[in-house]
């Protein structure tokens, strides 16, 4: 019994290290195909539609809601110290530096990353990728690369939209509902947020998250078991792994660059 669990542990470790190695090679292939002709512009645009345009509604709605809640929470806490005038700075900084990129990435993982993994996994199951290989078309080039690139490109834009809607939501609650002075709110927000640190930082974060989600989703779909259980495992795995690695990467980026 003891022996079996040790064996399992060893097997799992070897498997994990193997996955790390394969995902690195996979990443290398995706990156090298991004700089190689043909550019697959048509497929890229279609993927950008799936990832970006179809995620717009959920990202904007969530942004407005999060901003509104943050305005409400911030207000109740700040009034205790008589510091309601800093509400704009509180909402703005927490949205721009932290909540915007992280929540957008988590939402997009659920909305588009899972679908991406499921699509590739079902292509594996129905041997469509093998069909491509038979026609000497590299599936990494034809299927994976446009998807991963679309994720990388769409994420910073969705993040920016999330932030704008969240700032708007915070403004509506703080100024219109709770009666903080509008000018004070906007001024305290604009003074506390800096371009070099905060705005570039949020774009850096969302770019990294976009690459991460794109890589995890496509890789997990690519190595899925060719069964229907494999498709569902790939979808679940993508959401779990991508979410955890987003949060880990967020900590690392914040610790390294302080954004």
């Amino acid at each position: 019994m003891r022996m079996v669990s040790v064996e399992t542990l060893g097997f799992r470790t070897v498997e994990l290290v193997g996955h790390l190695g394969r995902i690195s090679v996979f990443l290398g292939a995706v990156v090298s195909h991004s700089f190689r002709r043909p550019l697959r512009l048509r497929r890229f645009v279609n993927e950008l539609f799936d990832v970006g345009v179809l995620s717009l509604a959920i990202v904007c709605l969530s942004g407005a809601t999060v901003g509104a809640v943050l305005g409400l929470q911030g207000y109740t806490t700040l009034t205790r110290f008589g510091a309601e005038s800093s509400l704009g700075a509180v909402v703005g900084l927490s949205i721009v530096r932290e909540l915007g990129p992280v929540l957008t990435a988590l939402l997009v993982t659920g909305r588009a990353g899972s679908a991406m993994a499921a699509e590739i996994a079902s292509m594996v199951t129905t041997q469509q990728l093998d069909g491509l290989r038979m026609m000497s078309i590299d599936p990494v080039d034809f299927v994976v690369q446009p998807k991963a690139l679309a994720m990388l490109v769409a994420m910073p834009m969705l993040n920016a939209l999330f932030i704008v809607f969240a700032l708007f939501g915070g403004y509506v609650v703080g100024v219109e509902l709770l009666g903080v002075d509008g000018g004070t709110y906007v001024t305290s927000m604009e003074e506390s947020i800096e371009f070099g640190e905060d705005i570039l930082g949020t774009l850096l974060k969302s770019g990294v998250f976009g690459a991460l989600v794109g890589l995890v989703a496509t890789y997990r779909g690519f190595v899925a078991e060719p069964t229907s259980a494999g498709v569902s495992a790939a979808t679940t795995g993508t959401v779990v792994i991508a979410s955890v690695s987003i949060l880990l990467a967020d900590y690392v980026i914040t610790a390294l660059w302080g954004v």
Partner: protein, 152 residues
């Protein structure tokens, strides 16, 4: 997937909106400002700037007329503050600059007080009269020290 012109246009609009939002965030919220061919750039040296930060407002009589561009250390080891104020502002050459605090715990800003000279400050000139930031710790220290002396 079939090529679809409508989809392409929608994706194009999405990209435009996305880039526009990033631009909006950078310019409006982040404060990357382009104010045409330069506002009036003035320098002022302070012994102590306290908690003054770049982008802090510069005001005259409480009206914001510009902002702090950067804060550096000059060769005399004083804080050299670069101010950018509205270009059409006519400031006398004996204008003084002081670092004030908005309220008890508020942010620090620079208050300009115009003097009475005929001559006007030009861009790139230095404000000669400055008043450093008020440090509450130093005030308390001085108060304690002074009262100690008078007790002798």
């Amino acid at each position: 997937m079939q090529p679809s012109p409508i989809r392409d246009v929608v994706v194009g609009i999405f990209v435009l909106i996305g880039l526009g939002t990033i631009g909006y965030l950078s310019v409006q919220v982040g404060g990357v400002s382009y104010k045409g061919p330069g506002g009036l750039t003035l320098y002022a040296a302070f012994d102590e700037v306290g908690g003054l930060k770049p982008r802090a407002p510069v005001s005259i009589a409480g009206v914001t007329v510009g902002q702090v561009r950067e804060i550096q250390l000059d060769e005399l080891l004083r804080a050299r503050v670069t101010l950018e104020v509205d270009r059409d502002l006519e400031l006398p050459s004996d204008t003084s600059a002081g670092i004030r605090t908005a309220g008890l715990l508020g942010d620090q800003f620079i208050a300009l007080e115009p003097g009475g000279e005929e001559e006007l400050l030009r861009s790139g000139q230095e404000i000669a009269f400055t008043e450093s930031a008020l440090s509450i710790e130093r005030l308390i220290g001085r108060f304690v020290h002074d009262s100690g002396v008078s007790a002798d």
